[in-house]
Amino acid sequence: MRPALGFIAGLIFGIGLIVSGMADPAKVLNFLDIFGAWDPSLAFVMGGATLTALAGYRLVWRQGSPAVGARFDLPDNTAIDAPLITGATIFGIGWGLGGFCPGPAWTALALGSPGTLMFLPAMVIGILLGGAAKSFPIFTTKGA
């Protein structure tokens, strides 16, 4: 039951990424290229996704607890700290270079482009490195 529901959720998410254009790095890079070949489409992706979740979250939170989970597990960290800013900046640089963020990179796997096959393993290695970097002294002295 749980895997089936997880698969369906992932499938809907992935189809959303593809239909919206978010899964095409060319479209992402054109969205980011405000002073060049600007394609504002992805603002509509973020808008549509966020507004749907904004309304939908409130509906499901009203149920008191999730359907199969024990409770709603929401992040309790509200700190605007060095790991957050440093991480978001590093992520943004990578996103602006390759045009992939993590979700679209997974949906691109089956299409087998050489760029994707370089990007994905590097991303997983990066996630391991970034997770380890969180415990570096410069990131743990304050906040986190």
Binding site: R2, G14, F35, A37, G87, A108
Partner: protein, 149 residues
């Protein structure tokens, strides 16, 4: 990172696709009580995310990723062709980009889905700061790569 490929402005398709992404995020919250963050889901599978759920979360996370991977196949079955995409062909550049995306999202605890969609939907100031920061860094990077050389 390669030639610029012209893309068409698709406000309605993008809005619709975005709503599907939001729907999936709502489903993950309603069913599992979790944030649909792809970085967290990927990290959870590597076993290095003690905070974000125990073994009980592995099953649906792995299934969710398989669903993401299967999405282009579903599009192929529905439309008769694989979705169109143009991936930059600068391979060392893509390896560097992947490394930065992975490291940055892990350090910053979220990406376009976790901070972007889910965090903004929760009206989290921390996520808003993350989104403004990564969008700014991405715009600057793409602008420099495309126009400064």
């Amino acid at each position: 990172m390669g030639p610029t490929v012209a893309t068409e402005f698709t406000p309605w398709l993008s809005l619709f696709g975005g709503a599907l992404i939001g729907l999936s995020a709502v489903m993950v919250m309603g069913v599992f009580g979790k944030i649909a963050g792809i970085t967290g889901i990927t990290k959870g599978l590597t076993g290095l995310a003690p905070r974000v759920g125990g073994p009980g979360d592995r099953d649906w996370r792995l299934a969710f990723l398989l669903g993401l991977i299967a999405a282009p196949v579903a599009v192929l079955l529905a439309t008769g062709s694989f979705p169109q995409q143009t991936v930059p062909d600068n391979l060392p550049g893509m390896a560097l980009a992947g490394l930065l995306v992975g490291a940055g999202t892990a350090l910053g605890s979220g990406c376009t889905s976790g901070h972007g969609v889910c965090g903004l939907a929760r009206l989290s100031p921390r996520s808003l700061v993350a989104v403004v920061t990564f969008l700014t860094a991405a715009v600057v990077t793409t602008t420099v790569v495309r126009h400064a050389f």
